[in-house]
């Protein structure tokens, strides 16, 4: 293919690294191609605004910003956080599954990011605590965190290959429930996975999450929002038609006693 015929594939980032370099050298000397690319850019400029508005899922902002702010902190505090939630096993599994994807190495860190994010979010004062809509009480930023894993359980279900593990973490006097799941079924439409804590028969909402394409999901929930005098008997995950269920509407897929 002549260089000038690669304009579209260059624009759509379809060229291999070598082809791309070659084409970029060509661009330096070919004004036509430079103009065509500029023209494509300006002609397509407005197209994103044709998107029909779709409501993002509940809690997305908390999850995304939590993960974003965790980026720099994970580098600084990786030691600390790995002590809190050992995710090495997951990371190993993930990387073996994704060996043929060298360019996307950071994808493997998805789970890590989700959870680390949640932890960091709570470190910076619950501003982005993953709570699913309820009001959160801000705490002053903690300089030194004193995280301590109080309890860790594995959740199981009879009719699903999905697995999850949950941990109660005590941090500066408040409790955080963290949960990570894998091999989840994909969700349809507004469906979400809802975490519940049970006091006797009474379910309390304890975080909402969705599964990524690899069937993985993670959530961290500040227990400060729940009545502190209650004892928790079990933790469960159900698939709910949307993020608004106040009691489990869907089937409980995974659970464990506490």
């Amino acid at each position: 293919m002549r260089e000038c015929e690669k304009v579209l594939d260059y624009f759509n980032d379809e060229l291999s690294e070598g082809e791309k370099e070659q084409f970029e050298r060509h661009l330096e000397s070919c004004e036509d191609c430079r103009e065509e690319i500029e023209e494509l850019r300006s002609l397509t400029d407005d197209l994103p605004f044709s998107s029909e508005p779709v409501d993002p899922p509940e809690g997305m902002k908390d999850r995304v910003l939590g993960a974003v702010f965790a980026e720099e902190e994970t580098e600084e505090k990786s030691q600390e956080e790995e002590n809190v939630v050992p995710l090495e096993q997951h990371l190993e599994q993930d990387s073996s599954r994704e060996v043929d994807r060298p360019t996307r190495s950071n994808r493997q860190a998805w789970l890590m990011r989700g959870l680390a994010a949640a932890l960091v979010a709570s470190l910076v004062g619950n501003v982005f605590a993953l709570t699913g809509g309820e009001e959160t009480v801000s705490e002053p930023p903690a300089v030194e965190s004193t995280d301590q894993v109080n309890q860790r359980v594995s959740l199981e279900g009879e009719s699903t290959p999905a697995r999850a593990s949950a941990a109660m973490i005590r941090q500066n006097g408040s409790q955080l429930l963290t949960l990570q799941a894998e091999q989840l079924e994909p969700l349809q439409g507004d469906e979400v996975y809802q975490v519940w804590l049970l006091n006797g028969d009474e379910p309390y909402r304890a975080g909402t999450f969705v599964a990524n394409q690899n069937g993985e999901g993670a959530v961290a929930f500040s227990m400060d929002q729940l009545p502190s005098e209650l004892d928790w008997d079990a933790v469960a995950i159900s698939k709910e038609p949307n993020a608004q269920s106040q009691t489990p509407q869907g089937e409980v897929i995974l659970s464990s006693s506490l």
Partner: protein, 198 residues
């Protein structure tokens, strides 16, 4: 008159964006949050238009805002509006992630079309202003032209895939696409003009 007002608004908006962006570079989390709040729904809706996949859309947004925050992607205000820049970053990030999923997961399932909101409550003035005119302009294209724009821009397909899908000789794809996009530009001007006259 209306064009003047629109331009003025656009100008004010991008200055605010630039202000947020510069504060964000200095490490101000509130400014990143402000950018997020402003663009969340547009970018989310855009990725769903690109991929029809809700969980993927969240992943893409996460990646986009990580690129912003860690400055792996840098905005240069001399090269255009912040909104154009952030949708472009989002498009490339989405294409990249969709492509890597397709390579590693062979049993790619078509997910169902997301539920769309009936009422239009976009917070973003630019979106509100542009969406209906662009949709109208797209509607006025021929089916073939709409398809080629969709495959190229929204699906990020290569030239050879477009040639196959549209049953065109490889060498004619670029010409057809440019024609379709110019047609779209003309339609946009007509639609806008119509609104102004009304």
């Amino acid at each position: 008159m209306m064009a003047l007002i629109t331009e003025k608004k656009g100008c004010v908006m991008s200055n605010r964006d630039l202000e947020y962006y510069q504060k964000m570079i200095e490490g101000d989390k509130q400014s990143l949050e402000a950018i997020y709040d402003k663009y969340e729904k547009l970018l989310y809706s855009f990725v769903i238009k690109l991929s029809s996949d809700h969980s993927l859309a969240e992943e893409v947004l996460q990646e986009v805002f990580i690129k912003l925050w860690t400055q792996k992607a840098k905005y240069d205000n001399t090269k255009g509006k912040f909104s154009s820049w952030i949708v472009t970053i989002t498009r490339y990030t989405a294409i990249d992630i969709i492509r890597s999923k397709k390579e590693s997961v062979s049993l790619e399932e078509e997910t169902d079309v997301p539920e769309e909101q009936s009422e239009s409550v976009e917070d973003l003035v630019e979106w509100k202003e542009k969406s209906s005119t662009i949709r109208k302009a797209l509607d006025q294209l021929s089916d073939e032209q709409r398809k080629i724009v969709d495959l190229f821009y929204f699906k990020g397909c290569s030239q050879s895939v477009i040639a196959k899908e549209c049953d065109l000789p490889l060498g004619t794809v670029k010409g057809r696409l440019r024609l379709a996009l110019k047609h779209l530009r003309k339609n946009l001007a007509t639609v806008k003009g119509g609104i102004r006259d009304a």
